[in-house]
Symmetry: C2
């Protein structure tokens, strides 16, 4: 009989926002207890799809130079978010927690739900942006969508 | 300097559904660690307002006899839900966890958000009903509302 406890996989969706870093801190303080032998933390960052990078005013198609600059920007941003997230983990959790970094690309809400399914996360933790009415209407709410559609318990952490 | 850790108050919204009992189990296994010295669990049950009790076909106003029967039914239901919740707590948590039972009355989504504020809960845990389209359109989703409006992190636990 296998008596070992199955590993719990906790996925935290991180992005540039203060809200998502707060959600990560909350997760470390509340979901990851001192005994982390059977916890794996998955940090997920979703890069926007290329078409979301700002066009210039006239809507010109970018030259390949500009495209590669944009791609570099996206990559730097992903690295910077992952660095900040790593700092928070080291600060709040001194134990040798198992951690994985995953970078996806596309529409955040779909990528997050797919990642939950594919990586078999047991819990999804995410922040909420305090978008205004127009931005919310335009973008939809990523956290609303994930709370409804992700195939695991979802923790919605609001920044106080 | 006060070095003692502040008590964490975790509120679980319970009702007649299997989903809410599953959410409670999830909470005990994932949010309440073995060291529960600084955790207080608050079980919240919301009775529907009197007008929600089914009218008879003709919509007659109830005689006071019927009203008191209905009130008794509501009270019995509340007790039965709290009993089941208590059983789950005793089963999953053998330590001497501090626990409180709160019974509210009214529109569940508003009562839950008010209780979070009034009792200063640090985390709200709730299940989701898998309502069909019409019931959802009619009732709205309690968990959707609370995820948006409750003044603390909200855990939405879906029954697998």
């Amino acid at each position: 009989m296998e008596m070992e406890k199955r590993e719990r996989k906790i996925m935290v969706a991180v992005d540039e926002s203060q809200e998502s870093m707060y959600a990560l801190s909350w997760c470390l303080s509340n979901l990851v207890s001192d005994n982390v032998d059977n916890v794996k933390l998955v940090l997920l960052y979703v890069k926007p799809p290329p078409s979301v990078y700002p066009l210039d005013a006239a809507g010109y198609i970018f030259s390949s130079d500009v495209v590669s600059t944009m791609e570099k920007y996206g990559k730097d941003l992903a690295n910077s978010v992952m660095e900040r997230a790593g700092d928070i983990c080291r600060k709040l959790n001194t134990t040798n927690m198992s951690m994985e970094r995953v970078i996806g690309s596309g529409d955040a809400k779909n990528v997050i739900c797919s990642a939950v399914k594919k990586l078999e996360a047991d819990t999804l933790v995410m922040g909420t942006h305090s978008y205004g009415f127009f931005k919310r209407a335009l973008l939809g709410s990523v956290s609303d969508h994930c709370a409804k559609h992700a195939k695991c318990p979802v923790v919605i952490v609001k920044h106080p």
